[in-house]
Symmetry: C2
Subunit: 232 residues, 2 copies
């Protein structure tokens, strides 16, 4: 049992970081790649592709990083405000809170007598009662204090790393068409590897994940390329 | 109590849609805006800004929409695989599962006698026992079957709507500098309104949310603008 519980906990503690890397890199590998591909069909030099690509990576990493920061802060505030409310309700509306606990256990087939015995015990320890309501009524876990900041940095850096991969060929090659070909090959390989690793960490089939991730990036790039062709 | 529970449920059922709109529109309003602003400092006509901006919106909406779809599918698969595992464990390792239930209740101060009575009841109804483990040990809720598809559409459409707002001035005005000024004004107003509404729905202070969202978009655009200036 301990091993099992330990396994579950490990799974959860690592998953915030993995989740943030996946969020940042999924978009970082895809959108700058698609944008650069799109512009390759529309311009004659790589300068403008590099300008647009770099501007996109800067904008995307800031927007997504700050987005992650604000989401983390909002989660923390939401937790605190719900905690304050439960603490208040346990004191001001104990009957109604007792009924809420009872509802939860009734759903799982416990007898009224057993439920009564549980609620009596909880009433003796209001702090644990509040903890119980937070986790089992509202499904909220206390967020780590460094979560918002770590999330912002992880997402932003992952976006930048992901975005520089498809853009790299445009730095070293002169002709957009040649750079595009190299970028397509390099990025599709990167998407496959990323999808495979993502699958391993998230528990999906790595091969399926590799295929899905590659198709997403390829499709986005193809549509962006087509649209840029039509518009110029 | 019913009103309270009802309130909680309402909060959760609406929140998937709201969350997806926020995901799509946060980036949609910010990244194309910042990219167009960045390019305004680097090119002489709006044609290329429109091409790059449209390619970005296409790429971003596809990447984020498919990302949302895959995340939804992964959640559903994760739920199913954990469900299968719990069903297996309840049959194959009942003692270990019983101990896991006991652990949960021990944390909240219940007596061994009460816990024993609870686990005995659960063992009589293995289906409810599995439901209990899914929700209270693993913290997983059964995802709605249409979740992945709805999520993809909501995110993609929100991204497109958000992205067209900052790009619109470049469609109707000829000079990038003039279009940029109009785009900045229009988009900052849109970010403020979006941030305000987002705050109302997510339970943060609407004014604080409006300020945070506007700063995020403005900062991303300013950095993209500066970087594009340096690079050209």
């Amino acid at each position: 049992m301990d091993q099992h519980l330990h396994h579950v906990e490990e799974h959860f503690s690592g998953s915030d970081f993995i989740r943030d890397v996946v969020i940042g890199m999924s978009d970082g590998l895809t959108v700058p790649f698609a944008l650069a591909a799109g512009l390759s069909g529309a311009v004659d030099t790589t300068t403008l592709i590099l300008t647009a690509g770099s501007a996109e990576i800067a904008a995307g990493s800031i927007a997504m990083g700050l987005g992650g920061y604000l989401a983390g802060k909002t989660d923390a505030e939401h937790y605190e405000s719900e905690l304050a409310r439960e603490k208040r309700e346990v004191i001001e509306l104990p009957e109604s809170e007792e009924e809420e606990v009872s509802e939860i256990f009734r759903e799982y087939g416990l007898e009224e007598e057993q439920i009564k015995s549980i609620t009596e015990t909880m009433k003796k320890n209001p702090e644990k009662w509040v903890d119980f309501m937070m986790r089992f009524e509202l499904g909220l876990e206390k967020p780590e204090p460094t979560r918002a900041r770590n999330s912002a940095i992880t997402i932003a850096v992952s976006y930048i790393v992901g975005g520089l991969i498809p853009l790299f060929p445009y730095f070293i090659l002169k002709h957009p068409a040649t750079a595009l070909m190299v970028s397509v090959v390099v990025t599709l390989i990167a998407l496959m590897i990323f999808g495979y690793v993502k699958g391993r960490f998230t528990g999906t089939s790595p091969f399926k994940s590799a295929v899905q991730t590659t198709i997403t990036g390829g499709l986005a790039a193809a549509v962006a390329f087509g649209l840029a062709r039509i518009l110029t």
